[in-house]
Symmetry: D2
Subunit: 442 residues, 4 copies
Amino acid sequence: MIYEKVLKNPERFNFGIETVGKPSHPNPIKQNRYISDNERIAFSSQVVNILQQIESCEKFPSFEKAGMREKLAHNPKNTKAAIITCGGLCPGLNNVIKGLVSELEIEYGIKNIIGIRYGYLGLSKKSSHEPVVLKLAHIDQIHKQGGTILGSSRGNQDPVDMVDQLVSRNINVLFCIGGDGTLKGAKAIAEEIKKRGLKISVVGVPKTIDNDLSFVEKTFGFETSVQVASDIITSAHTEAICAQNGIGIVKLMGRDSGFISASATLANSVVDFCLVPETRFQLHGNGGLLKAIEKRLEERQYSVVVVAEGAGQHLFTEASERKDQSGNLMKEDIGLFLKQQIEEYFSTKEMEMSIKYFDPSYHIRSVPANASDAIFCYQLAAHAVHAGMSGKTNLVIGHWNNFFTHVPIDLATSERRMIDLDSVLWKGVISTTQQDNHLEIK
Amino acid sequence: MIYEKVLKNPERFNFGIETVGKPSHPNPIKQNRYISDNERIAFSSQVVNILQQIESCEKFPSFEKAGMREKLAHNPKNTKAAIITCGGLCPGLNNVIKGLVSELEIEYGIKNIIGIRYGYLGLSKKSSHEPVVLKLAHIDQIHKQGGTILGSSRGNQDPVDMVDQLVSRNINVLFCIGGDGTLKGAKAIAEEIKKRGLKISVVGVPKTIDNDLSFVEKTFGFETSVQVASDIITSAHTEAICAQNGIGIVKLMGRDSGFISASATLANSVVDFCLVPETRFQLHGNGGLLKAIEKRLEERQYSVVVVAEGAGQHLFTEASERKDQSGNLMKEDIGLFLKQQIEEYFSTKEMEMSIKYFDPSYHIRSVPANASDAIFCYQLAAHAVHAGMSGKTNLVIGHWNNFFTHVPIDLATSERRMIDLDSVLWKGVISTTQQDNHLEIK
Amino acid sequence: MIYEKVLKNPERFNFGIETVGKPSHPNPIKQNRYISDNERIAFSSQVVNILQQIESCEKFPSFEKAGMREKLAHNPKNTKAAIITCGGLCPGLNNVIKGLVSELEIEYGIKNIIGIRYGYLGLSKKSSHEPVVLKLAHIDQIHKQGGTILGSSRGNQDPVDMVDQLVSRNINVLFCIGGDGTLKGAKAIAEEIKKRGLKISVVGVPKTIDNDLSFVEKTFGFETSVQVASDIITSAHTEAICAQNGIGIVKLMGRDSGFISASATLANSVVDFCLVPETRFQLHGNGGLLKAIEKRLEERQYSVVVVAEGAGQHLFTEASERKDQSGNLMKEDIGLFLKQQIEEYFSTKEMEMSIKYFDPSYHIRSVPANASDAIFCYQLAAHAVHAGMSGKTNLVIGHWNNFFTHVPIDLATSERRMIDLDSVLWKGVISTTQQDNHLEIK
Amino acid sequence: MIYEKVLKNPERFNFGIETVGKPSHPNPIKQNRYISDNERIAFSSQVVNILQQIESCEKFPSFEKAGMREKLAHNPKNTKAAIITCGGLCPGLNNVIKGLVSELEIEYGIKNIIGIRYGYLGLSKKSSHEPVVLKLAHIDQIHKQGGTILGSSRGNQDPVDMVDQLVSRNINVLFCIGGDGTLKGAKAIAEEIKKRGLKISVVGVPKTIDNDLSFVEKTFGFETSVQVASDIITSAHTEAICAQNGIGIVKLMGRDSGFISASATLANSVVDFCLVPETRFQLHGNGGLLKAIEKRLEERQYSVVVVAEGAGQHLFTEASERKDQSGNLMKEDIGLFLKQQIEEYFSTKEMEMSIKYFDPSYHIRSVPANASDAIFCYQLAAHAVHAGMSGKTNLVIGHWNNFFTHVPIDLATSERRMIDLDSVLWKGVISTTQQDNHLEIK
């Protein structure tokens, strides 16, 4: 097809673009870096193809490509697989479960699949919940439900105990669906397995509704979340425009990264201020948020503010060091804080005003996956099965430049991915909110 | 950020994946080609980065990267832009219109933007519909509506006439949102402009609900369409399971490519047969569809069939050569044909049965864009504006390996993109439908 | 509460309404009959209360009130109940099933409940499908699914055979959920039971998506259907306004009555013509539909037509006498006929035009019940259980003036309920479509 | 039609119901009052018809029937109408506005219609917002949007001032869309008008999302609210079942009456406890809520609690006497209080547990009306116009026993309508939640 044609005649496919004349006017939009006509996007992201004429591709940063291998490390005839879901809910968990079972049962002919109940807790000896047997015929409709049929819990358990359980249950491949904390737990399990010299694969399917995993461009559930967040923004906008000086504040998920907030803002371009952890803002003074909101109210009598839960943490004077059960640093509630600050600020002014606060996170994360996420979940699951069966371990299935990849857990959890402030996404946010005209970000 | 870190130490980022042992068992799944561990996905798809050490990147197939240029060919102070939407409806048209106006007005400060009514017809001298003035403040909520506020029409007009109109209206940049036919029309306009030596940019925003444009991975409206199609499949499934030997048939868009059908099938994995233009199937005989449906009914008393409108055209004996107004070859109606053939086949059997036929295409294409498409539309629009302002012409804005690209119209319309039968998408369809177990595709 | 207060002091509650002056201007709206200030709505629709002072309420037309009786005809300790769903799908079937099981099991403590598969077919000796045991714990989530978990079929079976089956399975109460044909079947069963002197109650829960049952104001699934129909009308409107002289035609359910069409038209007031079985219209000539559509196109370049499937049957010259399996007279397809007639009419005119045809009936009837219907289904089911347990038979549960009633099957199926052309509903349709200004209804 | 047939032969329409035998078993369900077979529902709720043979209908409690009158008090040729929306948002406000304008402009031919901005504030001399001119052509699509295009505000203004404004603007009919407080304001306006001997009609369209207006069975927006609330309950249920001992708490609107909570609970029967203002419950002790939740967790590891905002106010020791701007008594936040109490109670137990709290009120009230509400809004508006034009004043349009009625404002606002604990609605809630088995309501 196209692909082969291109690779046979690479020169023919370096498409020049016609112009109507030599560009001579300076661009009125100020940028750190403009794109040059010489910057190019490789037709193929598959290094082995691009660099086939070159001695070695090893010096080029790249990922192992995910997919079906010719040889397997586990004999499908007697492989037993286990699936576990951990951490907070995220649209698509059931799709991943169904995808794993479907691929294992239908494609690899594996009969023995169990689901661990309530996260790592169900894999510890103290659990009172026996695993459930998973058969495709019984879970055929779960892709239409939110949540996870296996249940979930936060927090890790002792890896020694958990590996004991895997051994006593004869598990060969363990699929861990979860976020940063879960994956660190999976890594601990994989290391304990290695220490004991066992042949058990541990494969992670990364779940972070915030879409903030390092070296993974996109995680499941994210698009669905943005859709629901965008609907809530419509409600906040409706409330705001229907009151004199109405202000709608929507707090969205995003502990360390503002992807949901930024994406929902761009999807539903009725937002005036989008506050994310990646940028700092001040409340008071001329370049501050409060003054900026006041200006908006003067201009058009209403304002809509979207704030990620991790934004504005620098505004809290006492550094709180609380952690939740998964070991995540607990954030101060920026949403309620903003609401209170705005109320206080305007209480001194003589004006009618009305603030409506929305905190829809639990609703957003509980809905079923939309179609795009459903497809993505299935594909993640299929690649996780291929990886597990071929003996890969201590990895997660990533997605990069439109390909599914193998990413070491260590790398994926090395740091949180954050919005690049020069990216197309954030530039879009700045342009549609025009918040920079008002808000001086320091 | 991550990016720079990687590029500084490329060797450190060639991630090997641990294994639990040497793979030795043959994979039970038969494949033309398995993935090798040596196949790798480049960290960066930006050739200029990957290949910076190498003499010349010109021999590698690549696209010009879209984005904001430092110098412009049109002076924003006196640029006048026109927007036109052509062809069938597609979710997101209004988002693209709003995005273009927003970027032109807010970012480039352009005051003079008009919308041509009813496609190319509105750009011909015979049109009775004057263009409308487009101001962001007036179209602020159009992203929530399906359709296009400008109206649309099929078919091209005389390029000489259309360029006359552009000239007489002092247009400097023309944005054409439309599919294959529209883009060919845009190319004709661009060529006439070139012939006359005029300085008018013609930039295409590709619109094909079928997602079948060559050298463009993804087009707007596609994800929304798959979502609605997936909902209709749920209805077809409900109808099928509620009747003895119930059969639900859903005909979906897809004249030359089955992307919507395949994606909706994977998103809502209750489908038994997914028929697309890329594969041939026979109706009769042991490997035929009718026998395969019969087997499914025996196994579980119902069956769900999804068929793309362009599938099975080989079954029509008389090659019809009708064309619609845009010059597309008109297809025989495979949906109704299948319905009739299935009815006929089972009428000879002594069995209760019930066939329900769904043809939701006009509904699907009329809905507003979902959040993902809304974001994508905005970004396409922003890149189209950057391209137009920098003087690029005779191109469309593409998307490739996660980057926005410049693609010559000629190339984008050179052939239709089709489902790769070895792709992750199609393999998923085969696995979830298990149609190969029943249906021998010839 | 209020109720008792009112009944104690009835005189106090004959509320007069103040006026600003004596009405003297003639109403510009022509009506057959205006409302007089003396027409009053009884506070209570319960005859026994209103008329308690009067000798006998028997001469006033009234229904037996549904609800829990003090004495039962069937001993709950050894009652066995059966549930059956027949005919076409309708939103809420699963809610009624869950409601029946819930009320029987939780409230009456009945352990023995079965579901007959695939309608009356499953109650005939030729059926190969055994009934299923119904326990609330197993069907706890079915209210979220469209369709019926029991399956359905059209057509009646021999009542002698069916009563044999009821006897051999020791059924004491049979709940039949279905429409006109089903209820006539239920009546035949009840009569056969009576003939044999058996103590088996037959209780109907009326299901007609068209809402056209006689002496029953509202049937379940109707509101949900109107909601989905209204969404499809939005799509038709979008298609129509986006084309030059675009015409959107939506065919909706309604064989003998246009309730869905009229209600959806009033709910989504973008419709120009609403054609229902209750009115006749002509196609040709000055007062005809085609001319009327042409006038609308001249006025605003688009037109939306909603047509009930039973409308315009007088236009078909040859009286077709086909019947479907349930014995319903099969209608000619007015939707496709209109589409063709409109195409033909305008083909002679020199004008751009575009017709989009929508036939969403199978989709509409397959969706889950909305909240209102869900509540209504539960309440119908509870009242059906009360009726059955108290020994009532050969009846359906109706709804009248906001109360649940007992209606003899004979009466409910005596004729089809149709839109009263003087009703608030139809007047609203005429006002929002303004179709009378264009279309002379003969 | 049927109606006339019945009234001609009333005796024929006193439908007896067959029974399978004399009821003899005691009903196992304990009730205060069972239904007797002699209780009957009048065929017609129109007193004038029922009682036409009887000397006088005046002693029967009844409402004036709404509808079009033959004579008008205002000459449509020079009538000027004003519309105002007050108080909190409610689905359907825009539908009522469109309905009023449509009926006034299309049916009565009134050209002069204005919309007052931001509630009563816009009718006071201190307002800086001029009224807007309302034309049907300009507001043709507003029925698809939530909120009110006119804006709203809480609180009343000086009636003397407001009547001055009405006079100076030559308003003849004022339509006030609002709740209890608004209607009391409307009454004050009507009384001031009467005092001055002016000929200005004041007609209320009652808006209370809680559906708690006295002598009015149903208010607009309620069904839509129940739908959205029901969706949120699904999310709470998902969160609850996915955690070990997961508890989902949903706080819904309902200051004095629990209609939304009860209806949503019945619509989505996955709720364990439905707490409304009409019942009292205790937290502690054997019959208390906390113990009851604990029992549920033991039985099935999760629990879903729905609580109306006005429930459990007796639990707050210090009677708070705060009032909001509309004069409504402000409630203590029972939702957060419950959450905290539950956390505290279980913190002493050694058990994994997870509480998720949902407060979706602002989202619920901001969505567009669903189809049923859209129809209802249109009909309310049409009847309001008929009432206003015929000179009625100081009234609201009610709905009673399926008819639209005229209700004096005084009566409608005399007290709050509350759930009758013997009603079909509440019995359904008790049956599906089975909360009485656990929770002893005191």
